[in-house]
């Protein structure tokens, strides 16, 4: 009906984008400033960038192994949560199980737990209960993948439920009539149809896992430390190495940026929290 003026939209969005980008830009500025310049009058415009921090971070073998751990843990966790969440939502949306709405709600509550106090029981469980012989879950990638499920699996279920509910049951039935097994119905009919929802769930759980700090800091020691815990090594009583921290931060942003960019177009299609039906 109304003609919208693209100029206004562009000006508006440029402003919003400026506000959005500025802290990220500033992160970058900090990463290319020598430490000696950080605590003096700030300049908005970047001049004479200093790449020493990048050289240091890139050359740090520990950080490289943290990067690998981060990738393995967040990818493993995102896949696990998305697949298990998909199965769970399929069950919740297709079966008439007693009390399934309560079950749905109570799975979500796992995300509400304030993390700090759960660290102690998790530590005890992972060192003393979930241990076989010399192997214990603490400080392992698989352990972190499982621990991250406590907040990501509820999220996956929450995001995927409307997607599953939105796929007509008739499709399953048609496939059964055509002779498919339950497994085939799930994997070949329903799963592909959920792709946008699955993509969004995958990316968001991945980002949540990638960015998690507190659990990783406490429940890993040597073998499974992640990039975010690497950050904490530069906050010390003898000076916080902001430049290095910012550089690591920039490094943590890049994979997230790539993953996010890949599924951009699915995001809106897949985020169907409480979608309205007719």
């Amino acid at each position: 009906m109304k003609k919208n003026n693209p100029i206004i939209a562009i000006v508006f969005w440029s402003l919003v984008s400026f506000l959005t980008l500025f802290p990220i830009y500033w992160l970058f500025v900090i990463s290319v400033k020598p430490a000696v310049q950080l605590f003096s009058t700030p300049d908005v415009i970047l001049s004479d960038p200093y790449w020493g921090n990048y050289a240091k971070v890139w050359g740090d073998r520990l950080l490289r192994s943290y990067m690998v751990n981060s990738l393995v843990i967040s990818t493993g966790n995102a896949l696990l949560c998305t697949i298990l969440g998909f199965f769970a939502c399929y069950a919740l949306s297709r079966f008439k199980m007693a009390g399934k709405e309560s079950l749905f709600f109570w799975t979500i509550t796992n995300r509400m737990a304030p993390p700090a106090v759960f660290l102690l029981p998790l530590f005890l469980l992972m060192t003393q209960v979930y241990a076989v012989g010399d192997f214990r879950l603490l400080d392992t990638r698989i352990g972190m993948i499982l621990v991250y499920c406590t907040f990501n699996l509820p999220f996956a279920i929450w995001t995927l439920r409307p997607t599953l509910d939105g796929i007509p049951k008739e499709l399953d039935e048609a496939a059964y009539v055509d002779g498919a097994s339950s497994w085939k119905v799930i994997t070949e009919i329903v799963f592909p149809l959920c792709r946008p929802g699955l993509a969004v769930t995958l990316i968001l759980t991945w980002v949540f896992a990638w960015n998690e700090y507190l659990l990783a800091a406490t429940l890993t020691n040597f073998n499974a430390r992640t990039l975010t815990t690497g950050l904490s090594e530069y906050v010390t009583t003898t000076g916080t190495e902001w430049g290095i921290m910012a550089t690591i931060s920039v490094f943590t942003l890049i994979p997230a940026l790539i993953v996010f960019g890949l599924v951009q177009k699915h995001i809106v299609a897949g985020l169907t929290f409480g979608a309205v039906k007719g």
Binding site: I30, A88, F273
Partner: protein, 291 residues
């Protein structure tokens, strides 16, 4: 047809993981919450003390204050995120050049780790040296000091949270708006509703499920906010930004007050679950049940 057994099989791994990594620790926390336990007390063992921790908590001014500021924070942050997110989502419903790029830019903060967000904002907000206080002072003569002004610190955290999490709200609202059928809106135009009336009578009720679902996620996450605040203000100035997450953190980390810390967590979890449950049964469940 399919038997319920398959349903339970599909749910089993989820329930197992949540049981072993969510429910068991929770049971342990509840167990500890009835004990006095500080490994650095004169008696470092776990001593059962009945409901004494709960007796203490209802008079604990620090805790009650932290609940208060948390509620205030969550209200401010989530409502602002909804309003800003809705405005931006609506703005995205129109076509304009470069829309895809702007949308990508707008979602960027989402991918940043809270601890990084806290660090960047700390550097930007450091009194006198940070770029924001510096130029606010230089250009407008406004002095902003998050070290002395509770309002400035609180506002900074809210702005930071809006900056960080509005994109999630925007995206879910765009998804909700895109999936709305156009007919009721045209019908409402013909029925004589003006813009405001359409918004309140048609748009709001029709995107309400998406809004509530988004609020739900944001509420849960905002209540757990620790990393950003820890980096930015450490809970200060005074106790102005000592949110429950930060409060619990201080109770169990430096103070190693495992017993009472567990009690606080149990109460916080209790309050969170009750709030979310009310939201869920009143706003979300009825719709999903009837469909």
């Amino acid at each position: 047809m399919q038997s319920n057994r398959l349903g339970w099989i599909l749910l089993a791994p989820t329930l197992a993981i949540l049981f072993f990594f969510g429910v068991l620790p929770f049971i342990y926390v509840v167990y500890v919450s009835f004990h006095q336990w500080n490994p650095f007390a004169a008696d470092p063992t776990m001593i059962f003390n009945g409901a004494d921790n709960f007796r203490k908590i209802v008079f604990d001014a620090e805790f009650l204050n932290s609940v208060g500021v948390t509620v205030l924070f969550v209200l401010f942050a989530v409502i602002s995120e909804l309003v800003v997110g809705y405005i931006l989502a609506q703005a995205f419903m129109k076509e304009f050049p470069g829309k895809a790029i702007f949308r990508t830019i707008h979602t960027l903060p989402l991918i940043m780790a809270p601890i990084i967000v806290g660090s960047v904002w700390k550097l930007m907000m450091t009194p006198s040296i940070g770029i924001i206080p510096h130029y606010l002072n230089e250009w407008f003569g406004i002095t902003v000091n998050i070290g002395t002004s509770p309002v400035a610190a609180f506002a900074t955290i809210i702005i930071m949270d809006i900056w960080h999490w509005t994109p999630l709200v925007t995206l879910t609202l765009i998804a909700a708006l895109v999936s709305l059928p156009p007919d009721p809106f045209e019908q409402a135009q013909i029925d004589g509703a003006n813009k405001r009336q359409i918004f309140f009578h048609i748009t709001v009720p029709m995107i309400a499920p998406a809004v509530v679902a988004t609020v739900f996620i944001r509420l849960m996450d905002a209540l757990r906010t620790v990393d950003e605040v820890w980096m930015l203000t450490g809970g200060g100035p005074g106790s102005a930004t000592r949110f429950v997450g930060v409060h619990i953190f201080k109770e169990v980390f430096p103070k190693t007050n495992y017993g009472y810390g567990s009690t606080i967590s149990v109460i916080v979890l209790y309050l969170t679950i009750v709030a979310c449950w009310l939201l869920y049964v009143t706003m979300l469940a009825p719709r999903s049940k009837k469909d």
